[in-house]
C-alpha cells in the first residue's frame, strides 16, 4: 500500500509537471496528493494513463516543422575515439567473460556471492544495458564474442534474406524464456553452461556467415543494444557525437523490414513479461491452469508466445487505425516501420524501472565479489530509501513521454498535413495509454515468486 501511494504521488507530480505550463495550479494538485492515505489502484493507473494522454495533447501543440527539425538535428562533438579506447573495450569484454567462466566454475555456489552471477545479472544485464540507452552503445567494442570471432576464418555462406531478423526475434524470446524458467540467475555452473553455449553458437554462426553478417543480422544481443543505442545521447557518426536523448529513434531508415518491427515489439513484450510472471495474479493463474491439467513446462513458452502475439496484434491494430485516421496511401507496413522505434523508449523506461533498484541494491555485492571472486566476504546489500519507487515509476513514464514525442516527430516527417500527422497518432497513443496502465499495474504489484520454475 505505501509503495503504491508513493508511486501515485509521483504520478500526480508528473501529471502536474506536465500540465502546469498550461494551467498553473500544480500546488493544488500536489497538495491533494499529500493528504492521501492510500490511492486506489484504479486511480493510480488512470493517472498514469492520463499523463500519457495529456503529454500527447501537449506534443500536438508543437506544430512548427522547422523547430522539430532543429531539435532533432542538434549535434555536438565529433571526437574520434583513440585506438586505445577500442582495445580497452575489448579487454574489458574478454576480461569480464573470463571472470564469469572462472568464477562460475570455481567460485562459491550461492548466487548472491558468486562473481559470475553478479557480473552477468547485476553488472551486465542491469548496469551495462542501462548505459546502452542512457549513454551510448559500446557493445560492438566490448562484446567478447565479437572480439573472439574477428580473427576466425569465415566460410562466407550467403545469409538467406528471407530469414531477415526473424532468428534474432526467436532467440530473444528464447533467452527470456530461459531467464524466467531456468536457474540461470541462481546456479553459477548452469550460467556458465548457458554463456558457453551462447558463445559456441555465436562463434559457429560467425564462421559460417561471416562475423559482420552474424552480429548485424542474427545476434539478438548485438541487435538489442544497437537499437537501445539509437535513443542514447552519444552515438558514432564519423566520431563520437552528442545529440538529444531519443532523437535517434526518428531516423527513417532505422527499421527496414517487418522482422525488425517484430524484434522491437518483442523487446517491448519481454520486458513486460519479465515483470508479469512475478505478480501474484500470474501465480494464481498459473496454479489454476496447471491444476486444470496443462503441463507446467508448456505454461511459460505458451504464455510468452501468446502474449507476444497479442502485443503484435495490438500494434498492428494501432497502425491500421493510424492509416485510416490519416487517410494516407502509404502502406500500413511503412507506418509500422516508422512508428516502431519509439517503442524502444518505452522498453528502455521499463528496463530502468525494473533493474535500477536491483542494480543499486546489489552493486556493493558485485564490487566485493569482483575483488575476491573465490572467497568473497558476506554480501552487503544497499537498502534503498522509500522514495525510490518514485524514480522507478518516473522511468516508466519518461520512456512513454519520449516515445510520444519521437512518434510525433516521425509523423510530422511522414505526413504532409499537420493535423493529418496528429490524427495518425490517435490509435498509437491509445495503445500507449493502455500499455502504460498495464506496466504501472505490474510495477505496483508485490513480488511473487514465479511458480513451476527451478
Amino acid at each position: 500500500m505505501t509503495r503504491r501511494r508513493r508511486l501515485a504521488v509521483a504520478a500526480v507530480g508528473l501529471l502536474a509537471a506536465a500540465v502546469a505550463p498550461v494551467a498553473a495550479h500544480g500546488a493544488g494538485l500536489s497538495g491533494a496528493a499529500d493528504r492521501s492515505l492510500s490511492v486506489p489502484t484504479w486511480l493510480f493507473l488512470t493517472t498514469g494513463g492520463g499523463v500519457i494522454g495529456a503529454s500527447f495533447l501537449l506534443a500536438s501543440f508543437v506544430t512548427d516543422r522547422s523547430f522539430i527539425r532543429r531539435v532533432h538535428g542538434w549535434r555536438r562533438g565529433g571526437l574520434r575515439p583513440a585506438r586505445a579506447a577500442r582495445w580497452l573495450g575489448r579487454a574489458v569484454g574478454l576480461g569480464g567473460l573470463a571472470a564469469v567462466l572462472v568464477a562460475g566454475l570455481v567460485g562459491p555456489r550461492e548466487a548472491t556471492r558468486n562473481a559470475a552471477v553478479l557480473t552477468v545479472w547485476v553488472g551486465w544485464w542491469s548496469g551495462y544495458t542501462m548505459t546502452t540507452y542512457l549513454v551510448g552503445n559500446s557493445w560492438p567494442a566490448v562484446d567478447p564474442w565479437r572480439t573472439l570471432a574477428a580473427p576466425l576464418p569465415s566460410l562466407d555462406v550467403d545469409y538467406p534474406d528471407r530469414l531477415d531478423a526473424w532468428p534474432s526475434v526467436a532467440a530473444l524470446l528464447g533467452l527470456v524464456w530461459l531467464e524466467v524458467v531456468s536457474p540461470v540467475a541462481d546456479r553459477p555452473r548452469f550460467l556458465v553452461g548457458v554463456v558457453t553455449a551462447y558463445g559456441v553458437v555465436t562463434l559457429a554462426g560467425a564462421v559460417v556467415f561471416g562475423a559482420d553478417v552474424w552480429f548485424r543480422r542474427v545476434d539478438p544481443v548485438a541487435r538489442l543494444f544497437r537499437y537501445f543505442g539509437r535513443m542514447a545521447p552519444l552515438h558514432y557518426d564519423d566520431g563520437v557525437r552528442l545529440r538529444l536523448p531519443g532523437v535517434g529513434l526518428d531516423e527513417p531508415r532505422l527499421v527496414t523490414s517487418r522482422a525488425e518491427v517484430a524484434f522491437i515489439v518483442a523487446v517491448l513484450w519481454v520486458t513486460t513479461f519479465d515483470g508479469l510472471v512475478a505478480t501474484p495474479l500470474w501465480r494464481d493463474a498459473a496454479v489454476a491452469v496447471v491444476g486444470a491439467g496443462v503441463p507446467p513446462g508448456l505454461l511459460y513458452p505458451a504464455a510468452l508466445v501468446a502474449g507476444y502475439a497479442a502485443v503484435c496484434g495490438v500494434y498492428a491494430l494501432a497502425v491500421r487505425y493510424s492509416k485510416r485516421a490519416a487517410r494516407t496511401y502509404l502502406p500500413a507496413d511503412v507506418l509500422a516501420r516508422r512508428f516502431a522505434p519509439p517503442l524502444l523508449a518505452i522498453a528502455a523506461g521499463y528496463h530502468l524501472a525494473h533493474f535500477l533498484g536491483y542494480f543499486l541494491e546489489l552493486a556493493p555485492a558485485l564490487a566485493t565479489a569482483a575483488v575476491a571472486p573465490l572467497s568473497p566476504p558476506e554480501p552487503v546489500a544497499l537498502v534503498l530509501p522509500g522514495w525510490f519507487g518514485g524514480i522507478e515509476l518516473a522511468g516508466v513514464l519518461l520512456g512513454h513521454l519520449l516515445a510520444i514525442w519521437v512518434a510525433h516527430a516521425a509523423a510530422y516527417d511522414v505526413f504532409p498535413g499537420k493535423l493529418q500527422a496528429v490524427r495518425s497518432q490517435y490509435g498509437i497513443t491509445v495503445a500507449m495509454v493502455c500499455y502504460t496502465m498495464a506496466s504501472l499495474w505490474i510495477v505496483s504489484q508485490p513480488y511473487a515468486v514465479p511458480p513451476y520454475v527451478t
Binding site: 500536438s60 485510416r324 494516407t328 502509404l330 504532409p416
Partner: protein
C-alpha cells in the same frame, strides 16, 4: 529519382510508388502528384506535399495552391489547439476533482 531526393536531405516523401495503398476510407478519386506519382486523399494534402517535397519545381499555380493550403491548415491547427487545450483542462481538473473526492 527517389534516391536523388533522399540524398538531397528531403525525408518527407517516400520513394515513388510507395504511396499506393488506398486507405480503408478512400476518396472517390485520389489526388496524384504530377512530380512523383504519390497519391493523397485530397487536394490540400497534395498541395502541402508538393510545397514541401518539390519546392524548386513548382508552377505558379502550384505555389498558389500551396500557399492557400497552408493558410487553411493554419486555421485548422488553431481550432485544433483550442480543442486540445479544452481537453487538457478537462483531464487536469477531472483528476483534481477525482482526487479530492477519493482522498
Amino acid at each position: 529519382m527517389s534516391g536523388e531526393r533522399a540524398s538531397a536531405g528531403d525525408r518527407t516523401t517516400a520513394p515513388t510508388g510507395e504511396r499506393a495503398a488506398p486507405p480503408p476510407n478512400p476518396p472517390e478519386e485520389p489526388a496524384v502528384c504530377g512530380h512523383c506519382g504519390d497519391r493523397f486523399a485530397d487536394d490540400r494534402l497534395l498541395a502541402l506535399h508538393r510545397g514541401r517535397a518539390h519546392r524548386e519545381a513548382l508552377t505558379d499555380a502550384e505555389i498558389e495552391a500551396y500557399r492557400e493550403a497552408r493558410t487553411e491548415e493554419r486555421d485548422d491547427v488553431r481550432l485544433f489547439r483550442v480543442k486540445a487545450l479544452g481537453l487538457l483542462l478537462l483531464i487536469y481538473f477531472g483528476f483534481i476533482y477525482v482526487y479530492a473526492f477519493v482522498l
